[in-house]
Symmetry: C2
Subunit: 319 residues, 2 copies
Amino acid sequence: MKIAVVGTGLVGHGWAIAFARAGHEVALFDTKPSQTEATLRRIDTILPELVSFGLIESDGDLRARITAYASLKTAVEGSGYVQESGPECVSAKREIFAALDQIAAPKAVLATSSSGIPISAIAEPLGGRARCLVAHPANPPYLLPIVEIVPAPWTSEKAIATADAVLSGAGQVTVQLKKEIDGFVLNRLQGALLHEAFRLVEDGIATAEDVDRTVRHGLGLRWSFMGPFETIDLNAPGGLSDYVDRLGSMYLRFAQQRGAARPWGPKLVAKVEADRRASLPASALSERAAWRDRQLMALMAQKRMPDTAPANILKDPKK
Amino acid sequence: MKIAVVGTGLVGHGWAIAFARAGHEVALFDTKPSQTEATLRRIDTILPELVSFGLIESDGDLRARITAYASLKTAVEGSGYVQESGPECVSAKREIFAALDQIAAPKAVLATSSSGIPISAIAEPLGGRARCLVAHPANPPYLLPIVEIVPAPWTSEKAIATADAVLSGAGQVTVQLKKEIDGFVLNRLQGALLHEAFRLVEDGIATAEDVDRTVRHGLGLRWSFMGPFETIDLNAPGGLSDYVDRLGSMYLRFAQQRGAARPWGPKLVAKVEADRRASLPASALSERAAWRDRQLMALMAQKRMPDTAPANILKDPKK
């Protein structure tokens, strides 16, 4: 299938790799041609790393399936699926979707990578709004499999099923939200944890670095192969309801003590920023982001080891 | 050093392995001798698994350093550090600590594994209260390195430093909380995420399984080697404060929409429990817990690979 990736910035390059890895022809378009050029160069540095971790066989074959187009029309024509990844801005997305709905083949699904704007705010007036939906990835999507599919009330079952088939077929792990909510599931969960994390620092309980250590040497190790519900399900002899019987009132007390939401004010943010800069100078941020991606590659490589390898236990039979 | 592990149930067996692995002589005591017998049998099944993942060299050598004692006095005599892991109950812990303070050598540090009760509620009346503190592990401590050290206002700097040296020396990763708080850091962070998770299910946004997928195929993969602050620090070109400039108001809106804490009521818990039982029958819970521990062993084995291995990237130079 030909897949169009419209908007080739921070998220678009990752979609291009994910779809091309699955054997699709990927058509790139961005209103700024220089952005697409930079993205192709970035892809050219990432592909050899994926080869070195054994995650793809040939960077050349994959790269040959990615083509930059000079116009939205030629990029979208003949595409069965369009992944829009432009700026997180309602008016910009409305404009792009109006154009996409005119150009794209009638059967093509139109998806946005929006990390917070619901599709109903973008596609409501369009004739083809039934084929529009959110497909929100984590970043980068070729290393973090999760994609949240979030329909508007009028999105057709067929469009949802097609999007799910395209994304699952490309190796992503999909969740279909039952209805629209601001922030979807991933960023809501992340936000809840971040609110508590900022609060612990503001109240002088722990440093930002200590909060990070508690997650990466504790909570996060379990959550990398089990979700929060499975975690507590396995933490009481009688399973999840037994766990809630034992500890539910304790967790309710924590939440009640917190009271109203507290903004992350400038003084607090400066404190956490200073703690981060003590660990990592600003000049090393992009190098560390590349390190993060190599860590994810190593994790993914381990999860894909053949069944004969000792570490095959990391492969979860139940996705 | 001789280390006494007092209370040999769910958490105690893990401490015994962690301390014996570090070369310490471990003295076990439980008020129920049958509990200690069961714990020794459990240890005997775990050690060969640790050998098979390359995490220890010899199960026999390690096992030889663990000894069960028939009395609290003989277990604690000569110990430089005592890790109490009895029931999570204030009156029981007060009683045990009163006895420990009488028996233990003057220089010995007395630590409790309490996951929520602060040490000030346990040790306040004791003559040796300055040597008492919380050392809260994740479970099991020989696979999840994090330990939260939580002092009372009167705990001595020396006791904190000794506990930290013993625990860090045994390969644990410590965080020292600046002051006491109900639930410490780990369970507060876990609770914040769980409250949002239960809410998303109760409001019909997602199933429990979809929430779990979103964490284990997305958020949790990053959090297994970075904390929440490092994660957002690397998710905006200008680092953490840039990220908060861009998205802080969005996260504040999520929290404000939530309003007051909502208990996890029986109907909601039954719904999540049913979703879990559809994934895993209750009869398979203990088998799945053993699977979880093998997953953690595989993760730990990968993080310990020598620098020459391709996956050595998983070794974080900055603990």
